[in-house]
């Protein structure tokens, strides 16, 4: 008989509970009361014990992801009669040497509940009854993302700098490499990585009223895959070529499209590049991905009229917005950093492939 193990109410606030590691592999036997998965709540890291004894068939969430109380985290196969035999594995402290006879657990609560009872919200989520028809269910990833971004916007003192870069060199370079030009994002990633190399302050983050060096040097590429937001980290970007970075990004996108669970794991980046050029957005003001210090928003590369040496010329330009954490850097420092990014980007246009 199938039993859906749900995340018990372990968090002290409405916050999510993060999966750290599974203690049992699918296919393995687990006893009632035996540690099933290690989780991290807002309070502490702890084990969640299995509510039933049986065989673990499926795990529904990966290490590194977060779930809410009541989300189904695993499916177990329980035999009503097997409850007693699981006793040898129960921990020493348990005086219950036999699991009670009524371990034939109901997979869902009985129907005899008054509507609108106190825990209607929990029950609706846990017993398969539909939420109100016009509500749109969000995935765990979407809910996690929503919470992190709200926290970011509410706690980080953002300020924004806007500029534009001459992208004509890159346009030419990409045209020369047709029919397989490197991805646009690869240029932004490399320019950003090189700029950070010159501005070590932006390789730090705010932690407890101190600036602490970030633990990674990866530049993140923001990706929207079927409505879920992911960040593909490119490590040691400054030491790679545009082509290498481009290949890495494309490979990451393929893995995402193929449903690879490893690539979906939240991995930290030092700073993120987010590009809405594909949507014809000219410029936008992005929200910093906590715990990063800044984020670079890139708009569509468009021909624009500029004045050079008193003459009006048309060249491809790209608008950039840098959102910065004001606790880490002031306007001047951020302005110089953004200026550096622009120069690196324009220099890439002039480099040979």
């Amino acid at each position: 008989m199938r039993f859906e193990m749900k995340m018990p109410d372990l968090a002290t606030t409405e916050s999510e509970i993060r999966i750290v590691q599974w203690r049992i592999e699918p296919g393995e036997q687990v006893a009632r009361g035996q540690a099933l998965v290690e989780v991290e709540t807002d309070k502490a890291t702890m084990d969640v014990e299995s509510a039933v004894g049986g065989v673990l068939r499926e795990t529904r969430c990966d290490p590194g992801t977060s779930v809410s109380v009541g989300d189904v985290i695993a499916v177990l196969e329980v035999e009503a009669a097997v409850a007693g035999t699981a006793s040898e594995k129960t921990p020493r402290q348990e005086l219950s040497t036999k699991a009670p006879a009524a371990a034939a657990v109901e997979a869902s609560p009985p129907a005899a509940r008054a509507p609108g009872g106190m825990f209607a919200r929990n029950r609706a989520a846990t017993d398969g009854r539909a939420a109100p028809d016009d509500a749109c269910r969000l995935s765990v990833a979407q809910r996690t993302s929503a919470r992190r971004l709200q926290q970011s916007k509410q706690t980080i003192p953002h300020f924004y700098l806007q500029t534009s870069a001459d992208a004509s060199g890159i346009v030419t370079r990409r045209a020369a490499a047709a029919p397989a030009p490197p991805a646009w994002d690869a240029f932004f990633v490399l320019a950003l990585a090189r700029a950070i190399g010159r501005f070590p302050r932006f390789a730090c983050r705010w932690e407890g009223e101190q600036l602490v060096p970030a633990s990674t040097d990866a530049i993140g590429v923001a990706v929207d895959h079927e409505g879920d937001l992911f960040v593909l980290p490119v490590e040691a970007a400054a030491s790679k070529t545009v082509d290498q970075i481009s290949d890495e990004i494309r490979q990451g996108l393929n893995l995402l499209g193929g449903g690879d669970s490893d690539v979906r794991r939240i991995r930290p980046a030092l700073m993120t590049v987010t590009n809405l050029g594909v949507c014809d957005v000219e410029s936008f003001i992005p929200i910093i991905n906590p715990p990063e210090t800044a984020i670079l928003g890139v708009g569509k590369v468009l021909p624009a009229a500029v004045v050079r040496d008193g003459q009006m010329v048309v060249e491809h330009r790209c608008r950039l917005t840098l959102s910065v954490d004001h606790r880490v850097a002031s306007g001047r420092a951020a302005g110089e950093f953004l200026g550096r990014i622009v120069r690196e980007l324009e220099a890439l246009g002039g480099e040979a492939a």
Binding site: K6, D9, A44, A51, V69, Q93, P100, E106, P109, M118
Partner: protein, 337 residues
């Protein structure tokens, strides 16, 4: 605190078998209730969090066994054990945990506030130390009414540092109130060790400051607890004033279900597991020839079956409706509300 320090209590041998078995059953009933409820929590079908008392069964059972039915107890957020020891039924407790109207507090109290005035238990007061002045007040009422009742007040080591402890104990002392102050010292206030919140960790010694008698007891020896409580209750009823009992025990579960309990060192946990009150009392019963392993196991099996039946009934018990929102709020003054 070294669990071996208090030594083995020399038990009175005049108890009859029925009474001893009753003590055992009550403790097992608490343990199976708490373990069962833990799984209900893990399954996610029972709302709210719970504060459990596995390992502390002997304190509740020992003290309540020394009280009369008409005596009252006050309790804390960790009250399931006190409730079962005082005489509340498993069914009314489970119904309450499931939020049903047939629960001991009509589904309006939940785990932290279980109680039943008809059985002499004031619904648990979850504020640390909150029950101490209440117990003193009840003691004053009993004394003024000359009813012969006493109030037993359960609280933990954490409550001893609250101002309310001083005020309640002092008032009971100066007015000779019939209150039995029972401190269940399980070494931790949530996750804080007693040595971090008091320089002198002997709580019973504080009684001398109030001019009353204090006694430290092995809280995991149900007979020792019962005897200390009986003597103290007799003193209270005789008008000698309050008594402070410090019961040394240990919590074998987290503070709440949200507590991973990493602050309890492994060797300490193991030392106290070896002094488990139920295991120890089982040995006493066997040594005295009151019961053998098979009989004790049969008791446990029966209790587990009763618990499971109660769970089934509790799941189907009626839930409060909007109409219940305004009942039990005011005392009925005869005009309807």
């Amino acid at each position: 605190m070294n669990p071996a320090a208090t030594g083995e209590h020399q038990h009175d041998h005049s108890y009859d078998s029925a009474f001893l078995l009753e003590l055992y059953e009550r403790m097992v009933s608490i343990r199976e209730f708490e373990d069962g409820v833990k799984f209900l929590f893990l399954e996610g079908t029972m709302p709210g969090t719970i504060h459990q008392c596995q390992g502390q069964e002997a304190t509740a059972v020992g003290v309540c066994a020394a009280l009369r039915e008409s005596d009252f107890i006050t309790s804390t957020f960790r009250g399931h054990g006190h409730a079962l020891a005082k005489g509340l039924t498993v069914q009314e407790l489970l119904d309450e945990l499931f939020g049903a109207t047939t629960g001991c507090c009509r589904g309006k109290g939940g785990s932290m506030h279980v109680g039943n005035m008809a059985r002499g238990m004031v619904p648990g007061i979850a504020i640390v130390g909150g029950g101490i002045p209440v117990a003193a007040g009840m003691g004053l009422a009993f004394k003024m009414q000359r009813s012969g009742q006493i109030a037993a007040c359960f609280f933990g080591d954490g409550a001893v540092s609250e101002g309310a402890f001083h005020e309640g104990v002092n008032m009971a002392a100066i007015w000779n109130l019939p209150v039995l102050f029972v401190c269940e010292n399980n070494l931790y206030g949530a996750s804080t060790h007693v040595s971090l919140v008091m320089r002198d960790t002997n709580i019973a010694r504080r009684a001398t400051c109030y001019g009353i008698r204090g006694q430290q007891v092995d809280g995991n020896d149900v007979l020792a607890v019962c005897e200390a409580a009986r003597q103290a209750a007799a003193e209270c009823r005789a008008g000698n004033g309050p008594v402070l009992l410090e019961l040394l025990t240990y919590r074998r579960t987290g503070h709440s279900r949200r507590d991973a309990c990493h602050y309890q060192p492994a060797d300490e946990r193991e030392a106290w597991a070896a002094r488990d009150p139920i295991l120890r009392f089982a040995e006493v019963l066997k040594t005295r020839g009151v019961a053998d392993d098979a009989q004790l196991e049969a008791i446990r099996t029966r209790i587990v079956e009763q618990f499971n039946e109660a769970v089934t009934a509790a799941r189907l018990a009626p839930q409060p409706t909007l109409d219940d929102l305004t009942t039990d709020v005011f005392v009925d003054n005869g005009e309807g509300r």
